[in-house]
Symmetry: C2
């Protein structure tokens, strides 16, 4: 599998990642290496990671943050900044973010803002982080319950994708990450959608291959439009309503919140319904998408009261402009269209459609 | 006076600034304009500013933060982020930072990180912010007592320098900003040093001209090296010890802390002493620099206990690498040299020299 390069960053895959990392350490001679983990990756991934890297010449400090979406906060950021300060990180220090999307998003933000920017490397350990969060330079934390509201766009020096970490992951986490792969199908081509909708998670080689293809799709979009002026917005398909659904459940009960991909799956069904009714997505395509997503993710109860709260949350979506909610919709599978507005009643119709499935 | 342009940003001066701003507003049609002020600029500068801009088509929200260096904190950032969220800032919103260095540094950081980056414009109202802080894209806040430890480098869309705001400024603030102008002399040329050391603050036209020249010097350095990989470090002359002196007094007694320029003036004397003893700065030049600075800023008591604390603080300087403290020194007036290390005893000798003046 080939490495995928953009202007500022490079993604390496599987067998070669530790060689590449060791070469990088030898070449750049960081003054110290700070590895950010969470409670889970500290236990399940760090021991293996440390056997793979050659740090005879380098001082390593390991930092651990609590696991989970509800810890992607300014408070945790402050803790990591203070740890960097206490252990005397300087501008030649390197940060390695070893974990899922929360660790790579928060760690990337911390590194990008400490002393106005340290180098950092992402080592994603969840499927979601491998195919989405760790790639493309979006870093960020939540502002209260507003997802990723504070952050910067700054690609790390490298992303090292070793699919073997997926073996440490609970099945529910893998399935959650799969939602972003399905999204890559819907926004890129009918061919890729047909491939990914029949993925076999037991076939490790084919999964690793799909990860590679998905990263390639994401990187080719990002490298055209790193600052999300236009094209990059297509990666937000399913995310306008999906983020609002995710925020709603996170606000209500942190412990039983939906995983990111589970919320995005709901968002993709809702936004496919909007696509069918406002642009040209066919009824067959809508049913196909709905069937794949419902059979993978099941259904979540969304009564009227929940719908009202979710619609209220839409107003904070990052893609909004001049007070208008902007959707990415599908003209067909593989044919996204940007900056679409829809009426509020149609959004409620979409919820009714979802509930009727 | 000509505008000064870099890759991403443009600085306008005096008469033309409000025209330029009004043209910018007409062209970009921001969804909302958020003006960040502090207690002082809200009172002394905002009323005039509002009479100059044409906002008939634009919604304006004014935000006010408390005045002073001790408020350049994460807590205030959070307050401004939350205000942006409450008043529904979106990616097409514009932030205008109307104030001294604290407002432009913190406001630039808030804008650069809100929704992963809003456009912003600096309108510096202090001499320090006009010739230094508001220009060149360094944004940041303090981490506890560590100055500017958290931030990003991101130039705003424009800097609008209207020297008339200086008339609202206490004399002590003007003199503080003058330290950065003196620094521009020391790092750029003997000619400019001779010009700026005899500045006449009562002659408004000549002061406006000096501001223009100083911004030109700073911008020409920054545009060669925005990320401070090399050349830009020369702007830190006087700042390695100066920042530590500033932090020391800020830690001790926030209300009687030194102003930034007052601390940097001490730093420039100390680092000129180091320059004389380790590189080729002549004794005459050292005396010339010391005389100008002492006659402008007077002397501050730095007993042994203070010296010890200040030396301890040096270890957190942002230019350090691999545990070594890196100084910018002067081979001669106008001839800075980067990445110099000196022995601890020589630093204590520099304090003795300062105390003997």
């Amino acid at each position: 599998m080939h490495s995928i390069e953009t202007n500022n960053s490079i993604v390496h895959f599987n067998q070669k990642v530790y060689n590449e990392l060791n070469n990088y350490l030898k070449k750049t001679q960081p003054s110290k290496v700070f590895i950010l983990t969470d409670t889970n990756t500290h236990h399940h991934c760090l021991p293996y990671f440390l056997t793979q890297i050659d740090y005879s010449d380098t001082l390593i400090e390991v930092m651990e943050m609590p696991y989970g979406e509800s810890h992607k906060t300014l408070e945790i950021c402050l803790g990591v900044w203070e740890a960097l300060s206490e252990y005397l990180a300087d501008r030649n220090s390197l940060m390695i973010n070893l974990g899922g999307g929360v660790v790579t998003d928060l760690g990337g933000f911390v590194a990008s803002t400490y002393l106005r920017g340290l180098s950092y490397i992402n080592v994603p350990t969840s499927l979601l982080a491998m195919v989405d969060a760790s790639v493309g330079g979006k870093t960020g934390i939540d502002l209260g319950h507003l997802k990723n509201h504070i952050g910067v766009i700054n690609e790390g020096s490298m992303v090292l994708i070793d699919a073997h970490y997926l073996k440490t992951l609970p099945e529910r986490e893998v399935i959650s990450g799969y939602a972003e792969i399905l999204k890559h199908g819907l926004i890129s081509s009918l061919d890729y959608w047909e491939t990914v909708k029949q993925i076999n998670f037991d076939n490790f080689e084919s999964l690793a291959d799909i990860i590679h293809q998905s990263v390639k799709i994401k990187q080719s979009i990002v490298s055209e439009d790193i600052n999300e002026a236009g094209l990059r917005k297509i990666l937000n398909f399913g995310h306008t309503l999906g983020h609002a659904v995710e925020s709603y459940f996170l606000n209500r009960d942190e412990d039983n919140a939906l995983l990111h991909g589970e919320a995005i799956a709901i968002g993709m069904i809702l936004e496919s319904f909007l696509s069918h009714h406002t642009v040209s997505l066919s009824e067959d395509a809508l049913y196909d998408i709905s069937n794949v997503l419902i059979s993978t993710y099941g259904k979540t109860s969304l009564p009227k009261a929940a719908q009202n709260e979710i619609v209220k949350l839409l107003i904070h979506d990052k893609k909004n402009s001049h007070g208008k909610i902007q959707f990415v919709l599908l003209q067909d599978i593989g044919q996204p269209i940007l900056d679409q507005t829809v009426s509020d009643p149609l959004i409620y119709d979409a919820f009714d459609y979802y509930n009727s499935l």
